[in-house]
């Protein structure tokens, strides 16, 4: 009988947007638009050997961050409703080239009619249609990424489907990762199915061990019908962490943060871990060992210093337990995540 190797977790950090998990009243809170804020968080995540860092709607900021980081994966949340596959696939492929294979795309769909009022394609799509369009969008993007041969020869590509009808040549060679990593948030039934069919990473907000284990088993089970193995899709759980020197100290800090957060406590917000670094490291490790997830997306409370405590105090404890990497082995995000490079479909 063979001993199963220790399951190592994956870690990502989310750059806080305008939402109610962020504490802005704290004097340590800084501008969320100054590049130095992004740079500090990204460098901290890289110092902590995180798999990736993700931002909403900003491939431009990620391209700049590629210049101040070397190994960290760079994920952009970009809407598949108000973009066109050719242009977005090209921007993602460019980021993958510029970063030496560190690009990822968190695919979201938009239902916001007021957002639609800003775009040429200002049409409203119902929920089911949005997923159909998103699935076709990802399929077209992958076709475009595969359109150059691995030897660097561009070849024409054509696609005619329900939402897109395009033909021509792509302007960018096949990305270093083959395909940038595709991420999807998927707690709903459509989201789970879409992730099982399409994504490399799925985000979840399951808030207990039991619901996490159920989600994990359900999503991994769905993979087989798409010819995929459980390792082909990583499940990452959104969490916020509050550290203290003692459990009581941490609870006090958590209460203070809650008082400062912009609105009332959000029950759908990320699961909160409050405690000493030892306790938090133990709980996170436990969730991964018991197959409630493959890793975590940290949502810091503070910009830009919100990751410092976790990286300085929790990561070393996870490493001591053998639960997290002690160095980056490869250069690409796929290698950090343990995902194989997609086979070229000529």
């Amino acid at each position: 009988m063979t001993v199963r190797p220790r399951r190592r977790m994956h870690l990502a950090a989310y750059f806080p947007g305008v939402d109610n998990t962020t504490v802005r009243a704290d004097p340590r809170s800084r501008s969320r638009i100054e590049f130095s804020s992004f740079e500090h968080l990204a460098r901290t995540a890289e110092r902590g050997l995180f798999d990736f860092f993700f931002l909403a709607e900003s491939l431009t900021v990620l391209s700049a961050l590629a210049g101040v980081t070397e190994r960290l994966g760079l994920a952009a949340t970009v809407d598949a409703t108000f973009n066109e596959p050719y242009e977005l696939a090209r921007r993602l492929a460019t980021l993958d080239h510029l970063s030496g294979g560190r690009a990822a795309w968190n695919v979201v769909t938009s239902s916001d009619a007021s957002t639609g009022a800003n775009f040429r394609r200002g049409v409203f799509l119902n929920r089911a249609d949005r997923y159909v369009r998103a699935a076709e969008f990802v399929a077209v993007a992958r076709k475009l990424w595969d359109s150059w041969t691995p030897e660097g020869v561009s070849r024409p590509v054509a696609h005619r489907g329900r939402h897109f009808d395009i033909a021509g040549e792509f302007t960018v060679p096949r990305p270093p990762q083959g395909h940038p990593v595709v991420i999807q948030a998927g707690d709903s039934d459509e989201g789970r199915e879409f992730a099982a069919a399409t994504a490399d990473v799925v985000f979840t907000r399951q808030s207990s061990l039991e619901s996490g284990r159920a989600f994990y088993a359900d999503v991994k089970r769905r993979l087989a019908k798409y010819g995929r193995t459980p390792d082909d899709l990583k499940i990452m759980s959104g969490v916020s962490v509050v550290l203290g020197d003692t459990a009581a100290d941490a609870r006090e800090k958590a209460a203070e943060i809650r008082r400062q957060q912009n609105s009332l406590y959000d029950p759908d917000g990320p699961r909160s871990f409050v405690g000493t670094p030892e306790a938090v490291a133990g709980e996170l490790d436990d969730l991964v060992r018991r197959e409630a997830c493959d890793g975590f997306v940290l949502v810091p409370h503070l910009t830009p210093t919100g990751l410092d405590g976790f990286v300085d105090r929790v990561v070393p404890l996870l490493q001591e337990r053998g639960a997290f990497r002690t160095e980056y082995r490869g250069a690409t995000l796929r290698s950090h995540l343990g995902l194989s490079e997609p086979v070229w479909k000529g």
Binding site: A64, L98, A117, R120, A167, G168, T171, Q260
Partner: protein
């Protein structure tokens, strides 16, 4: 004040390193800005992404990617340019271009190719709505109010309610007002349909001209048109755009060698000669007030940019015609253009 800029385009380059090197070289020469072309019609990376990658590796040189307006979303375009301005701390420009071919139209499958007149009219609308969206956040809309924990002062965000011929945008933007207020808009004004748009909206107009007479005539027309649009013509910089091949060596100051000026070629006006002769040409055109400066596209990217910086620029600096250091930090400052007032701010308070 003489303004100089150079293209950093290279065939089949997709890695960051080579672009960073060229931009740093241009920055060493004190150039106002570098441009990087972009089209869906030929191989090449997304130019705005490349220059965003270049931004943290440089500190002063302006960064001007081409971003097309025909098949893109005006809202996304303005947000990307504003973000480039943020990540470069006020060094962003935007070279506005259109996509005229049916081949490009088929990559999107949304509309057919249209005449240049139509496309440049729309490009003007995109330039217009972009400036409105940059202004849709007042400069001090992002706040950090410790007592209330508020992030945005909603009274300082504005709808733009723009109705164009082929698109409409409600606003406000998703990006706070960029450091320069409005990143610098650049238009190649050589062809008729683009010229009107340049006169109305551009901060910098490029003119591909083989003779001083030709360049001067276009500049005069641009300035007159700008005035008709209610602009102060002195807020428009007109740069002569030349291809330069400096492969004939450093010693080419002999009479007749490149001395005949640029020749018209299929790729545009081409100057071939030595860096010293090029300095003479720059001096002559600029001293006569024909143009405000030059936009130079090296025939051989690395070789010619090196010769341009180490030869031509060094000589112009020696003669006191070109800056030896950057007195300002933003692209607008390099170009001597003021930071525009916000069209929505009631108090009009800008720096």
């Amino acid at each position: 004040m003489l303004h100089l800029s150079a293209a950093v385009d290279q065939p089949s380059a997709y890695d960051a390193g080579s672009y960073v090197e060229l931009a740093r070289l241009a920055e060493r020469g004190g150039l106002d800005f570098v441009t990087l072309g972009d089209t869906f019609a030929r191989p090449g990376p997304d130019a705005l992404a490349v220059l965003s990658r270049v931004a943290p590796a440089t500190t002063r040189v302006g960064l001007v990617p081409t971003v097309t307006t025909t098949h893109t979303e005006p809202f996304h375009v303005q947000a990307a340019v504003a973000t480039l301005d943020w990540v470069s701390r006020g060094r962003a420009g935007w070279r506005i271009e259109v996509s005229a071919t049916e081949g490009e139209a088929r990559l999107f499958g949304r509309r057919h190719a249209a005449p240049a007149e139509t496309l440049w009219h729309e490009a003007g609308e995109v330039a217009d709505v972009a400036a409105r969206l940059w202004d849709s956040w007042e400069d001090d809309a992002e706040i950090r109010d410790v007592s209330t924990g508020r992030f945005i002062d909603r009274d300082k965000l504005h709808h733009v309610d723009f109705e164009g011929t082929g698109f409409s945008v409600k606003g406000p933007s998703t990006v706070p007002r960029p450091p320069q207020g409005h990143p610098v808009r650049v238009v190649d004004a050589t062809e008729g349909p683009a010229r009107r748009t340049a006169a109305r909206y551009a901060d910098v107009a490029l003119v591909r001209a083989a003779s001083p007479a030709q360049a001067g005539a276009v500049r005069d027309q641009l300035r007159a048109d700008a005035k008709d649009f209610g602009r102060d013509p002195d807020t428009l910089r007109v740069l002569a755009s030349l291809l330069v091949d400096l492969g004939d060596g450093e010693h080419a100051a002999e009479p007749g060698h490149g001395g005949g000026g640029p020749r018209q070629t299929a790729q545009g006006p081409l100057y071939r000669g030595g860096p010293v002769d090029l300095a003479e040409l720059v001096t002559a055109w600029h001293t006569d007030g024909i143009v405000d400066g030059f936009h130079l596209t090296p025939a051989e990217p690395r070789r010619d940019l090196e010769r341009l910086v180490n030869g031509t620029v060094a000589l112009l600096q020696h003669r006191g015609l070109f800056r030896t250091f950057y007195p300002g930090s933003t692209l607008r400052e390099h170009l001597g253009l003021a930071r525009p007032a916000n069209q929505y701010a009631v108090t009009g308070g800008t720096s």
